[in-house]
Every structure is written in C-alpha cells, then in structure tokens.
C-alpha cells in the first residue's frame, strides 16, 4: 500500500486564501487529512489591545473582507453592551440591511466558486456577473463595495433615502430571478449532481460534537441559527425561516445557501418597508467604555462568529478574542473527508465555505517511484491523470 502525500497548499486560483491541507491517499481514496494553517495569522487580537475602541472597529472589520460587516457588528454589539450604549432603531435596521446584503453576495460567491471547482467555468462566470449588482448595492448604501466601514459605536455612519430604497428593490428583483435559476441548475444539472451528491457526508451528531457551524451544520439538518436563537440588531422583529436540509452532503450545504439567499432578499424587502424614522448615531462620539465583559455572537454567512471582549475601563480594550466560523469548519471539518476520493477534496473544502484563499500549487510525490509532479488544485478536482 503506497501512500501518497499531497500537500494542497496555499496557492490556488479559485479558493483565494492561504491554507494547506496535507492529504494522505491510498490510490484514489483519502486516508487522512491534516490542516496546516497559520499563513493568514496577522496577530489582530494583539493589535487590538494597542488601539482605541473606535480604531478597533476598522481593524476587526479587516479580519475578513467578505464578512466584514458581521465582524464590525459583533465587535460593536459587545462594546455597546459593556458600555450600556443604546442604538437607535433606525440604525439597527440599517445594520441588519447591510448584513443581509453581505450574506447575499457571500453566498453567491461561494456557489460560483463551487461551480468553478467542479469544472463548470461558464456557470462561475455567469454567477459572478449576476453578483456584481449586489456589490453595487453595497456601494450605494455604505460608499464602498467590499469593506463597508459603516459602523460606529452606537449607530451607523450613513443614511439612505427614498431614491436608494427604490434602487435596492429594483435591483433585487433581478437578482432574485437569477438566484432561483441557479438553484434550479444546481438541483438538476447532471455534472453538479454527480460531483456534489453524497460527497462529504457529516452526520448531525458529529457536526454538533465537532463544533461545526452555519450552513455546514444546517446542511446536516440541525436547526441552529444565531439570528433566531440569540437575536441581535433588528432580527428579533423581522420574520424569516431557518433553512435546514437533511441530506448531510455537499449538495445540501450549497442548497442551504441558495435558500438563505432567497430568504435574505425577502428580509431586505421587509426592512425597507418597515424602516423606522429617527437618528442613526449618537450626537457625540463615545470614547470611554467602563469595566465589563461581553460574549457576543452573530450569524456570519459562514456560521457563528464569536467575540469575547474584556474591558478594564478606559479608551482601549484589555482583551478581544475573535473566533471565526471557518476556524471550526475548516479544521474540525476534516471529518468530512473520510472515504472520499482525492477529487472530492476540493469540493468538500468549498462546501464548508472556507474563508481562506488557497492559491498554491499541489505537489504530488509518489512514494514508490520517487517521482514528483506538480498539479493545480483545479487539476486535482478533475481527477489525477
């Protein structure tokens, strides 16, 4: 039995974050997967202690660019809790609006990337094209396509008017139509079914024991969503459904994301219809926070995001602990690779929505012959030649 070790390393054209998976394979079957991370570690938690409370909003937004609004939400929500700061209702609704817009674009992105990983390049291009209007909406509301920098302690920094509201509703109509079409493609297309169905099975009890979160958990039928169970911002007042699928495979996880996108579009419509009047931020900026501690949880597109904030009084935090959903989903998600083929490894990794760019080549070392070949992750996902 000759075991090949394949480092699926930090550079990969489709998944855009540096993380390395060491895959040990016997023939085509995966025997073991080890995750080697740390390429992305920038010491944000330590830097946070050096900055003031307000500066840290900008720092923690940049822990992840794709889910930056949820990072800002979790951080400001915790700090506002410690400081007893009231957030006006209009600001809560606007925060929810921008978080849902982010959920829409993030889910469309990972579904497009999944299409690319499977080899369906034209679907990837089409989905990216249809995602561009959502980025434009984000720019309309916050002033920037990706990194919104929308939050301040006690509120938000920009307001929207009737013109913007109408634009958002009009654009979302088209987006909704396209998302419904892409969901149909994922359900009915022969290639996608073959690559995604019954691949990367995670049983519900395993998913809970291994702390998997978000669509990865809900794709195994477990009804757990922070927006429903631990409401924050305006979610307590907005009606929505928690989506679960019982398939436990990669296809279920992607379908959860499609349905959540459609739910998000409905939620945005509700928010715009019921947006309360009033101020959007406190009149004077708040600089000093009293002593206290907060455990803040938010549903990011990838799962539960958790911050533990400790304040000893003053204008700087004492400790901010960040636990992103992908920390659990990628590292503990290695249980999904059991009995998979090598070609399934990128599919399973994409289905847990890793928030890490993998842009490295794959080095295949055949232990018996000692020859080494260089492959891309893309080639790997299309089968070793």
């Amino acid at each position: 039995m000759s075991l090949i070790e394949i480092p699926v390393g930090p550079q990969h054209p489709a998944l855009h974050e540096p993380i390395m998976l060491r895959v040990r394979a016997d023939g085509e079957k995966v025997v073991d997967v080890q995750v080697v991370n740390g390429y992305n570690h920038r010491g944000a938690e330590k830097l946070g202690e050096r900055n003031t409370w307000i500066k840290d909003i900008f720092l923690y937004s940049r822990v992840c660019g794709i889910c930056n609004t949820v990072h800002a939400q979790t951080y400001t929500q915790g700090v506002e809790f410690i400081g007893g700061i009231e957030v006006p209702p209009r600001a809560q609704y606007l925060r929810t609006l921008i978080m849902e817009l982010e959920r829409i674009h993030s889910h469309m992105l990972i579904c497009a990337v999944m299409a690319e990983v499977v080899g369906f390049d034209s679907l990837f291009m089409l989905m990216m094209r249809d995602r561009e209007p959502v980025m434009m909406l984000k720019e309309l509301v916050t002033g920037n396509r990706v990194l919104s920098d929308y939050y301040t302690l006690g509120g938000v920094r920009r307001d929207i008017d009737e013109v913007k509201k109408d634009k958002i509703l009009k654009v979302l109509e088209k987006v909704e139509e396209r998302v419904k079409y892409y969901k149909k493609v994922f359900l009915e297309d022969f290639t996608l079914s073959k690559r995604l169905r019954d691949v990367g099975i995670i049983k519900p009890s395993d998913a809970v024991r291994h702390s998997l979160v978000g669509p990865t958990l809900r794709g195994s039928g477990v009804k757990s969503d922070v927006r429903r169970d631990d409401p924050y911002a305006a979610y307590g007042e907005i009606p929505f459904n928690v989506i679960t699928y019982d398939g436990c495979d990669s296809l279920s996880r992607m379908l959860v994301r499609f349905d959540e996108t459609l739910e998000s579009i409905e939620m945005v419509r509700y928010i715009l219809k019921h947006l309360p009047q009033g101020p959007i931020a406190p009149k004077t900026p708040i600089r000093v926070i009293p002593k206290g501690e907060a455990f803040s949880r938010v549903e990011a597109p990838r799962g539960e995001l958790f911050y533990h904030i400790v304040s000893l009084g003053g204008d700087k935090p004492y400790r901010v602990k960040v636990r992103t959903p992908s920390f659990h989903n990628i590292i503990n998600g290695v249980i999904a690779y059991k009995d998979a083929n090598i070609a399934d490894v990128p599919v399973i990794l994409t289905s847990v929505d890793p928030c890490v760019s993998c842009t490295e080549r794959v080095l295949v070392i055949d232990e018996t012959s000692g020859k080494s070949k260089v492959l891309r992750l893309k080639d790997l996902s299309r089968g070793l030649r």
């Binding site: 702390s211 169970d229 455990f295 958790f306 533990h308």
Partner: protein, 146 residues
C-alpha cells in the same frame, strides 16, 4: 428554563451576575472541569464548544480560561471560567469529551500558553510564525510587547 443552567446551579458552583441576556457564567476549579463538562453533555448532548478564550490578568497573577458553550436546545450560552496561576497554567483537556474543542485548545496553547494536560496534539507554530514559536514566548500574554 434551561436544563443545563439548572444542572450547573445544582452543583453549587459560584455563579457570576451577568446582565447580558441568555448568558450564564460560572466559576469552576480545574480539577472539577472534566466532571462538569461531562455532566453538561449528559444533560444536553446538543452542546458545542463555541470558543475557549484565555485572558492574561498579569496584575492578579492568573490566567483565566473561559469555556464558552452554546446549548442548542436551551438556546443559552454557558461560560465556565477556570482560573489558573500564571506561572503554571495547567488545565485538563476536554477534547476527548468534545472533539470540537481540539482546535480551540491548540490555539489557546499557542497564543496564551495554557497547557491542556492530556492533549498530545499540542504544538507551537499552530498559528504563530516560527521565530516566535521557537522562542518560547506567548504573543497574547501581557508581557509580550508588540
């Protein structure tokens, strides 16, 4: 109410007053940690480790390890605080009880220096770059200056 919270209250652990809704904080000593966690999982198996957060209180000479557990059924977060002396921060591992705690324990070891006894997978360099890992310093301790 919450089954897990009732169970923890019945153990006469010190409960800290918390104003945040759906959060319950208890103090646990290191030697009782495994029994408490084992009991929590028995009462409500659908419980997972959301995070393990280590805080260095250098002025008090303790490192406080916060086990943040989310109970899916009861919809509450239970935080177990374990305080250990800074010069010998040892806590028993729980990853055999809850496999999902493994990565959090590795992170707490690499960044704060908490030693999880019984965890054979602990290693430096999990997140930190090699030059820090080789020096036996822990970046998130207060005596590590950026």
């Amino acid at each position: 109410m919450s089954k897990v919270v009732d169970y923890l209250r019945s153990l006469s652990l010190k409960e800290l007053e918390v104003k945040q809704p759906r959060r319950y904080v208890f103090e646990v000593s290191p030697d009782k940690l495994r029994d408490v966690i084992g009991g929590v999982i028995k009462v409500s198996p659908q419980t997972y480790v959301s995070a393990i957060s280590g805080v260095d209180y250098i002025n008090e000479g303790v490192i406080e390890v916060n086990y943040c557990l989310w109970v899916i059924e009861d919809k509450v977060m239970v935080v177990l605080k374990v305080r250990v002396p800074r010069d010998s921060p040892k806590v028993p591992t729980i990853y055999d009880l809850i496999p999902g705690a493994l990565n959090s324990e590795l992170e707490a070891y690499d960044l704060v220096g908490v030693v999880f006894e019984g965890n054979d997978k602990l290693r430096r360099g999990f997140l930190t770059p090699p030059e820090i890992a080789s020096q036996n310093v822990f970046p998130l301790r207060k005596d590590f200056k950026v």
